[in-house]
């Protein structure tokens, strides 16, 4: 048991620490949701050359607080056709795993809820639990839009979970441990994991975008085709829990994982001298990724569901499997030397980034040729 500071009895300190950790996690989620929604709207506005929220408070800072108050005071309409057991369980099932993921996020040396031996496996496990809530929400609404949206979202989430896990396994091959604290401690210097296995990072990043329902994979928000997906029948605070809290909490968690596994977590100048400085570095790195997510949202168009699924199963999973195989073989062949692995990974990354446009060009050509031959057959004229 960890002895407490100021001579506090270890047993009391254990409980006190739990209360602090829990308070911090919930505070982080609430705060994160409020702040991130504000940031999201402001950044979108700046990128689209408009002002964004500016009425409530200075720079519109209090806008999201007002929104939250409105959501809490809003009537929760429960349609008469729903399946109550599932409908009421879904918000809990979506929120709880997200909250529980915060136990293992390493903010700074010593500032971590619980350093589990199986940290990454634990996070993977919790990630897979969220699907359940979404399928239940879609099904329980007894609404055609919600059901189709739930099926789509579930298909998307379960599909992209596979490349996500495979990328993490590739990282574990190099690191040799699942504990997030040990992973962070293994990358003290400026040479972090991103220089060794960049391709795994890119595939993880893409899969994480899909796992958190962010653009270009934000099908639940495809208003023009499926209304609001599995959230169609949800309103008021139930909607707020399902979407606002959980989505931004999940974004924070995956960005935290990226920071810890590929970018050295809390490590940065001055951490050896003063450990709590790690919180600053960790937060800065995590928010950099969150901002990247928002940038992507302002840049890329949304994918269609069939493109999304075939991209996952026909491109991303084969690429991650190939990367896993190459990394493992090189590690065994060179006795743990990381340089060949890094070289191979950069080459594969270059091929991946160049190969996708080339593949698109080829597909475009074949589609055009097919259309042309069809027109030729229809009109009887060679085009």
């Amino acid at each position: 048991m960890v002895p407490g500071p100021f001579g506090i009895d270890p047993a009391i300190w254990a409980v006190l620490r739990l209360v602090i950790a829990l308070g911090l996690a919930i505070g982080l989620i609430m705060n994160g949701a409020l702040l991130l929604i504000y940031l999201e709207r402001k950044i979108q506005a700046v990128m689209q050359d408009r002002i964004g929220p500016y009425h409530v408070g200075p720079f519109g800072l209090l806008q999201t607080f007002a929104d939250a108050l409105k959501l809490i005071a809003k009537e929760d309409v429960l349609s008469g056709q729903t399946d109550r057991a599932f409908f009421l369980a879904a918000p809990v099932l979506v929120f709880t795993p997200m909250l529980a993921s915060f136990v293992v996020v390493p903010f700074a040396p010593g500032v971590v809820g619980a350093d589990l031996n199986i940290g990454l496996l634990y996070l993977t496990t919790l990630g897979s639990m969220g699907v359940l809530g979404i399928v239940m929400a879609g099904w329980a609404s007894n609404n055609k839009y919600a059901l189709m949206g739930g099926l789509r979202s579930a298909g998307q989430l379960i599909s992209y979970e596979v490349p996500q896990i495979l990328s993490l396994v590739t990282a574990v091959l190099v690191l040799g441990t699942l504990s997030l604290v040990k992973i962070t401690e293994l990358q003290p210097g400026p040479i972090t994991n991103i220089f060794v296995i960049p391709l795994a990072f890119v595939t993880y990043f893409i899969a994480a975008l899909a796992e958190t329902n962010r653009t270009p994979f934000d099908l639940p928000e495809a208003e023009s085709e499926l209304v609001a997906g599995y959230l169609t029948e949800y309103s008021g605070m139930r909607w707020g829990t399902m979407l606002a809290l959980t989505e931004y909490g999940n974004v924070t968690v995956v960005c935290g994982i990226m920071t810890a596994v590929w970018f050295g977590g809390w490590n940065g100048p001055g951490v050896e001298a003063f450990a709590p400085l790690g919180v600053v570095w960790f937060t800065l790195k995590t928010y950099a990724f969150i901002l990247a997510f928002m940038w992507i949202r302002a840049t890329l168009p949304r994918m269609r569901i069939d493109q999304l699924m075939s991209f996952c199963w026909k491109v991303l999973i084969p690429v991650t499997l190939l990367n896993l195989g190459v990394t493992a073989t090189l590690l065994v062949a060179f006795g743990g030397d990381l340089r060949p692995v890094a070289f191979a990974n950069w080459v594969l990354l270059a091929l991946f980034l160049l190969g996708i446009p080339a593949l698109q060009q080829r597909r475009l050509r074949s589609v055009r040729a097919r259309l042309r031959s069809r027109t030729a057959r229809a009109t009887g004229v060679a085009v």
Partner: protein, 121 residues
Amino acid sequence: MPDYSLSYFYVFTFFGAGAIFVTALLTLSNLVQPKRSTPEKLTTYESGEEPVGQAWGRYPSHFYVFALLFVVFDVEVIFLFPWAVLFRQLGWYGLVEMGIFILILVAGLFYAWRKDALTWY
């Protein structure tokens, strides 16, 4: 032993706290919100039309194929994680074992691909 118990005590508490937090939040919301339900509010949303029948019914089963493939790859994961952690000790032996394992599963993926089961309509 205390370290293990303490860590998982935290995990248990976080799970419990998550459920309690959501319930409390929704109860709070339930207490302050107005409740004026009308027959129109109770109907299912179908873009403003009168809803036709129920949504529950038969759906094309190709959705099922994706869930199936996911389950297979999820099962693969429970072998991949132990292998990745113990990878250095296992060496070539473990690599070949895992290589055969993954190749057999990839054969299944390839079968699904050829059967056109990887296409979402």
